[in-house]
Symmetry: none
DNA sequence: TTTTAATGTAATGTT
DNA sequence: AACATTACATTAAT
């Protein structure tokens, strides 16, 4: 029923006649040089040369609108490489099984394990991003209070917090990681300011 | 000595009672919740017991803060020391609403549009927000052109752009972030429209 | 009102 | 775990 919308969703990005291998190549090619993919010189742009009808040799990396929404890779036995559960609206990810099978087969045929893995990582990069958690004020307050006393809570404390705050332990873990980073950053900044002020005021002598 | 969180980070690093440390405290914020939460049982925290005057028995583990005690600061000779790096300076932020009202009235009465504008800018500065950058048409054009080909320019390209466009690299970075968000949003919207159309037209069958 | 520069922070990947 | 980087939700300036 949604077959049409689905194919439309990907056509602008993944023309029907583009082979899976081409798509994969593009994406896995991206993995190596994420930012150096441009086949243009900045000078040419800054010089405002306008060659508007020249098609860039390499497709821009736009994961969120990229081609491969309909390419499905089998879960590996390697737990480290699992695609996180897809949190996104799976409207466009719902494909019929026959297609899936075919693509998986093609995949296994044409690509090395490492290629497939990095591809998979790419996929997860935009497909399986967890929706941003919005902590409540109370949750934050408790977390902050715990943090003041212990910035490195062990698994037991994290579990307890998770239970009492009705959060995943994972969220707690991440929260503390980010909180430590924040503290460290602010500390670094104060130090920098201090040094700078010391320096500048020493110039006034 | 380093018994507390970031609010103490500055004080523990510079001698007490210097204006430097005072300013640093303001800059890093958190002045208000200086008093530490002091019990170590999670229950007590989750139960929100507030024993604010108890001193923690154990020093929190903050490795990155333990290093810089050998920094010596002079007494600050310049009372009007600027705090240029961070915009978080909330020195002038404490305004009640009455004050605000009054100011606005006075403002309209006594000041020209341009005067009020610069006043506003100044306020935003004191509020801790970077004054909004107004990109020139040419800057936008170049940025858009680069974006077309590479939505994720690396530090090298950003630096180059910054140099050539006479902007901070930070501005470039932020611009690309916002640009990506914008693209994604529009993409999402068109997808939504597509689904909607598919759906409604399927109802007509 | 709309667009978008700026901010804060949750989430991800790499080491 | 640290760290750099990204996405994303908001705020506020235009």
């Amino acid at each position: 029923m949604l077959a049409e919308g689905e194919s439309m969703a990907s056509t602008s990005l993944c023309p029907a006649n583009t082979s899976v291998s081409q798509n994969l190549q593009k994406v896995s090619g991206f993995v190596e040089n994420k930012t150096a993919q441009c086949s243009f010189s900045i000078e040419s742009i800054l010089g405002l040369e306008q060659k508007k009808d020249v098609i860039p040799a390499v497709k821009p990396h736009r994961p969120w609108m990229d081609t491969c929404t309909n390419l499905v890779l089998r879960e590996d036995s390697n737990p480290h490489m699992q695609i996180p559960v897809s949190y996104e609206n799976s409207l466009f990810h719902a494909n019929n099984n026959a297609m899936q099978e075919e693509k998986v087969l093609k995949c296994e045929k044409y690509f090395s394990v490492t290629e497939r893995l990095s591809f998979k990582r790419e996929l997860s990069w935009y497909r399986g991003r967890r929706p941003r958690t919005a902590f409540t004020r109370n949750q934050i307050e408790v977390l902050e209070n715990v943090f003041k006393m212990n910035s490195y809570p062990g698994i037991d404390i994290r579990e307890e917090l998770a239970r009492k705050l009705d959060l995943d332990e994972d969220r707690i873990q991440i929260w503390f990681q980010n909180r430590r980073a924040k503290l460290k950053r602010s500390h670094r900044e104060s130090q920098f300011l201090m040094v700078k002020n010391t320096f500048t005021s020493s110039l006034l002598d």
